[in-house]
């Protein structure tokens, strides 16, 4: 029993980290551009499909495929930002509507090009490790490591580099930042693109874990939003923590309770936390 629980704790954390990377994108975009980019789910899906294409069709090594996918998605993010999101800065709902439109466009295009037949990558890293009687798939551990690395790096970048500080300053107080000479528009573009790239990375790694369908993004973006809120929006490490908490709650929840309510378990937790700390678990008052 205890083994079962520990195993699911670990698995929940890994699954949650994948929520976390998208949540990070959500948090950053919201902090800097004031919109919630639901389309990140769609970008994640793109990342997954690009990776599949590079790895299966073009026979590239997986890491190369991943990098390629991330870059491509980043480019799409750039187009989306210059072409669309630029016009909905700091307008939460209009941004929301644009991302809804974007989702239907991206999903339908993928369906048109790659059809509804599910894609499943040749296993990148088959086999599992047995750690104290718990069987953990190697690939999941690898993905987990990469996610932690990227999120950690982002955190450092935000706290150590100039761009990062500028971004942080901006999210705290736009006017002041502008006075400090932060080029608002460029900053917002940079962050939007970075966020979509993060989404793309999430998708690229996702592709090595699960099968691909054009609709896979919707599920993850909702989890990501929950995670971002749970930890307190605007909090880098919080995104990861939030994701992991949701992942674990769902995992443990569906061990002891019906799987049918899986999505509910995370939400109950979310609501409880927000009620006792309206600014989120790690959010500052």
């Amino acid at each position: 029993m205890i083994q079962l629980v520990i195993g699911q704790l670990l698995n929940g954390a890994i699954v949650g980290a994948l929520y976390g990377i998208v949540a990070l994108g959500i948090t950053l975009t919201f902090g800097i551009t004031g919109i919630v980019n639901f389309a990140l789910g769609a970008f994640m899906m793109l990342g997954a499909y690009f990776t599949w294409y590079g790895y299966e069709m073009m026979r590239l090594p997986y890491p190369v495929a991943v990098i390629g996918a991330v870059v491509l998605v980043g480019l799409f993010g750039l187009f989306a930002d210059r072409g669309l999101f630029r016009f909905t800065r700091n307008n939460l709902v209009n941004g929301l509507l644009v991302s809804i439109g974007l989702i239907s466009i991206i999903e339908a295009s993928v369906l048109l090009i790659w059809t509804s037949t599910p894609k499943d990558l040749t296993y990148v890293l088959p086999g599992s490790l047995r750690i104290g009687g718990i069987l953990l798939p190697k690939i999941k551990l690898a993905v987990f490591a990469v996610l932690l690395l990227v999120i950690g790096a982002t955190y450092l970048a935000l706290t150590r580099t100039w761009v990062g500080r500028a971004a942080f300053a901006y999210s705290q107080n736009p006017e002041a930042a502008a006075l400090m000479g932060v080029k608002t528009d460029r900053l917002q573009t940079v962050v939007t693109v970075y966020s979509t790239a993060l989404g793309g990375l999430g998708g690229a790694l996702y592709a090595s874990l699960y099968s691909l369908e054009p609709t896979l993004g919707a599920y993850y973006v909702l989890k990501a939003v929950e995670s971002a809120i749970l930890a307190g929006i605007g909090n880098t490490i919080g995104a990861l923590v939030g994701g992991i908490i949701i992942g674990i709650t769902e995992g443990i929840g569906s061990v002891f309770l019906p799987t049918a309510f899986r999505d509910g378990y995370g939400m109950v937790f979310l609501v409880l936390i927000l009620l006792f700390k309206p600014s989120g678990l790690l959010g500052s008052k």
Binding site: L84, N94, I100, I105, F261
Partner: protein, 313 residues
């Protein structure tokens, strides 16, 4: 301008059936009316009180299910069933709203928590098979009868439902209009624009937020009560987040800062998919493109072009 358009529009809607031949056009417009009614009540909470609620679909669905269940499983009369259904929705909204507002959840936080609550409700509906028949949905065969001085007619057939739906829309519209024209509207405006100031002017922010949320959700419930009996079928998807997002889209497309905007948005978004005559994927791509185009070209929605900036009175 803003005063005339609604009157003209509703008046023309009354005579329109003379021109309409096709049954499916009736269906599209009827759906349009019902969804527009949802959009209008949603805008009471969102556009006029500034609270982005994702509870609307849940409110709509709960009412739809309750009336359907009471009528088909417990043999209630449709009109009697509406009362407990609306009561239930009202109480649910009261509970959810009270929690959110008491704990001062703002903007996006409020949005996500209401989303969470409506998802939980959906999960209950999906899994409570014995009562809701779960994911298979419920077939509603009963047809409510309406007693008129000229005699009783049963609500069936495209034309009848066209007018029923129109009636619901107009009723919702008028209720919202009256509320917004009253002192309540002024309090909503205060909440939307500057809570702190409103409070120092003696406005009970908590109470009026709650009022807006409960009233809006209950009106959504009203539409829900009829919806199931029009389509003859209800399924849990009616409570899903996507439905709430559709409503948001309608409101934004039509124009947030007017009462009539959402009517336009609702009608257009309902008709749009059927107006596009393309293969499946292209149809959806075009749909998305139109959404984006409209909101970028007219950030304040279609009706935003006609309506002067909102006044508190």
């Amino acid at each position: 301008m803003t005063r005339i358009i609604p009157i003209v529009a509703f008046a023309s809607a009354v005579v329109a059936p003379l021109l309409i031949r096709s049954d499916s056009t009736f269906a599209i417009i009827t759906f349009g009316f019902l969804l527009a009614a949802l959009a209008v009540s949603f805008n009471l909470i969102f556009g006029f009180t500034g609270q982005l609620s994702f509870f609307h679909a849940a409110a709509f669905g709960v009412a739809a299910y309750m009336t359907a269940i009471l009528v088909s499983d417990y043999g209630w009369s449709f009109w009697a069933a509406i009362v407990p259904a609306l009561l239930a929705v009202g109480l649910l909204a009261l509970a959810v709203g009270a929690i959110c507002f008491r704990f001062k959840l703002r903007e996006f936080y409020f949005a996500v928590v209401t989303m969470a609550f409506s998802e939980m409700i959906r999960l209950v509906v999906v899994n409570w098979n014995s009562v809701t028949n779960g994911t298979l949905g419920m077939t509603v065969t009963a047809q409510p009868t309406l007693w008129l001085p000229t005699g009783s007619i049963s609500l069936t057939g495209a034309r009848t439902w066209y007018y029923v739906a129109l009636l619901i829309l107009v009723a919702t519209y008028i209720i919202c209009h009256r509320v917004l024209a009253s002192w309540i509207g002024r309090c909503f405006a205060a909440i939307r624009l500057n809570e702190q100031l409103g409070e120092t002017l003696g406005v009970n922010i908590f109470m009026y937020k709650l009022l807006s949320f409960v009233l809006g959700s209950t009106l959504a419930g009203l539409t829900g009560c009829f919806y199931g009996f029009y389509t003859g079928f209800i399924e849990p998807q009616y409570l899903s987040i996507t439905q709430s997002l559709d409503i948001v889209a309608m409101v934004l497309l039509g124009g947030v800062n007017s009462l009539f905007g959402p009517v336009i948005g609702g009608m257009l978004l309902t008709a749009l998919p059927h107006a596009i005559n393309l293969t499946a994927e292209l149809r959806i791509i075009l749909y998305g493109a139109i959404l984006i185009f409209v909101i970028i070209v007219m950030p304040s929605g279609i009706f935003g072009l006609f309506s002067r900036p909102r006044h508190a009175v």
